[in-house]
Amino acid sequence: MSKKPVYILASVLTLIGIALYVYKVAFLGYPVVPQAKIDVWEIEARLKFTAVGGEVKLGLFTPPGSGRNAILERRYVAPGYGLTTENDGPNQRAVISTRKANGAQTVYYRISVQRTPGAPPAQPNLSTAIEPPGLEEAKLAAAQVIVRDAEARSADRATMVPLIIERFTKQPRGNQVAVLLGADPKPRDLAVAIVKTLAVANIPAHIVNGVILDNARRRAPVTYWIEAHVGDKWVAFDLKTASAGVSDNHLTWWRGSKQLTTLSGGTDLSVNIATNRLEESALANLLTMARSRRDELISFSLYSLPIQTQHVYRLLVVVPIGIFLLVLLRNVIGVTTLGTFMPVLIALSFRETQLLWGLILFVVVVGSGLLVRAYFETLKLLLVPRLASVLICVVLIMAILSIISHKLGFDRGLSVALFPMVIMTMTIERLSIVWDERGAAFAMKQAVGSLAVAVLCYLVMNLDVVSHQLFTFPELLLIILAATILLGRYTGYRLVELPRFKVLVQGRS
């Protein structure tokens, strides 16, 4: 069997991989290592609706940008639609329209935001006229009680506003607040009620709608805070802490109590906002420039995908590294593992829970699963029903673990629910079969071996360098593929075979 085709294939793959990599680094200026991060965020609003067949007009408030959150770029993906912008009071609105549309429509609005923490907040150019609160009699009376109470305990407007907010946010709520909020208030209702109460107190105020840029989120919720005019300027008040000033990571989207979107000519509008932190400035700048130049080769990159899909690929591109490592450990070192790719799957699930917790949860869940299985063995259940019963018990064990750790205040325990169920199931099933066939000692040896490999894979797959390189330069996967193909024809000894066969080359004893 000639190895020649294998070598040729591997060299071709490697050459293509290296050529693309070098081209991207040397000519397109992709950064090789993750650089010092300046805070650049990509925020994407996805609007889906069903057009009814005629003229469609979709309005969307857009973030104004400020010294703290400078908008680097705005981009609309709305094929077949025209775009105009207009002012609506303090806000900007983008209006996307078309003469005729039918069926399901999806429109994207993307911005990149550069954050400069510590910069002074923007002063909105807003009139301080007070909108009548329009409260019915009982609610008006309740608001007046709250205002009188706050007035009595404060020196001026600046100290009075926090006192009023506190009345609304403190638990348990007082009677007046309950009257104003009604049953089951949403966060937005709370902000609306506070603004109305401030109007009763003759303090100009409005709601600020925005998103918080703390983690990359696939579904970022809209967050509400308020701005009140005190001491001749607008001051933001955080509703959670009931104090002046909001944290740097609040991105203002629009002000006032209007809805984010308006739609005519369509139904079933749904809006999803996703946020993503771009890894480094050089890359962000590069991509921004490439987009403006409409550079096809650069735009043919994983970064051009919608943010939600990018999240998935950040995970997927590191899987081949783990698998390559596994091939190395099995065929060159000679480690025995449970199932072929199980350790890589376990390593993936560690990414959801962090390593230490992942290990603890894994050992506890799989260990209890095996104990339950050992008991079922004495009941003489047949194979398939026994495996099914073990599975049901595993779900119960996971549920109990989550409840206990939540009660103890470890929120990490909750992520066991995210711990991929299928992986646990398969591990227990395979471990049980090995246990059945080869005994407890062999099963333990395999389990420990698999966990060790999983930890190693996790550590490598979790390196920032690895994930950055593979996501920025997916062509590196070709090189990994080449190396794996070469390993497929590795016919040398496995490391564990050396001590095993050592006796063969030693002198007679």
């Binding site: 047949l382 000894y493 080359v505």
Partner: protein, 320 residues
Amino acid sequence: MFGLTLARRLAEKGVLGINRRNAIYQLPYNKRRFYPRVDDKLLTKRLAQEAGIAVPALYGVIEIAKQAADIGEIVKPYEDFVLKPAQGSGGDGIVVVVGRTRTGGYYRLASGRLMSESELIFHTQNTVSGVYSLGGQPDVALIEYRVKFDPVFERIAFQGVPDIRIIVFFGVPVMAMVRLPTRMSEGRANLHQGAIGAGIDIATGKTLTAVWRNDVVTEHPDTLNSVQDVDIPHWPKLLDLAARSYELTELGYQGIDIVLDRDRGPLILELNARPGLNIQIANRDGLEHRLQAVLAEKDKLDTVEKRIAFSRERFAHRKT
């Protein structure tokens, strides 16, 4: 760089590693579609019987869980028998019944344990549902003749089942060993469980030095009798069985496990498409040179007789 030196010396000696066995010998010369001929013991047995090769007689087959209840009926005429999964691996799931108790109708196992009929039925049901099969697929259970071991091994085996393993490459027996159970291996013949492996000189059928764990030994650790220079009875017959196994399975590289029955002589117990590499340790020699020698001349070796003659001439033990 001690590891590299060691690897180089092993390669010079022709010691075969797992990767090399798989890539150079097993993958190219063992066609996937012939694997069932060795993995399914029922099929092996039928093929062997058609070819007139001696195997333990089949008493009955249980194919679905419902039939398991009939097992008492099937084994009624026989004093002793063996129950085994058709697609088991590594000896898992095999029950050896040596007799019955006078009262209570219990089965007496080779290990001395007693098993009730309902336990035997449950074990059979598990076997059929695939607990012991490769990959856990549904399986069938075989009930067959229990081999009565030739007393020749009594002096050098502790309880259990000694067997003879011969590696056969394109019908040429290339290396052989006898596996002797010890107290440590609890009567099993697997080397990694503590059995002794003694290499066999292909030319003469006499045992060479033996390996126990990782040490070279000359006597059995339990019986203290010498395991060296023991004549394996029926040796020409054993070589003949091994050489014929190629026509049986058409697998280029395979291992054949033979037991010696007191009354019926050598019987093929099973064939293996992925035989282990421990045989090299027992023979203190590598497989590679012998396999290459066969590869170089395999086209000329077109009859069983020629293959055996080639084997006895080329693979005779040379004193070093």
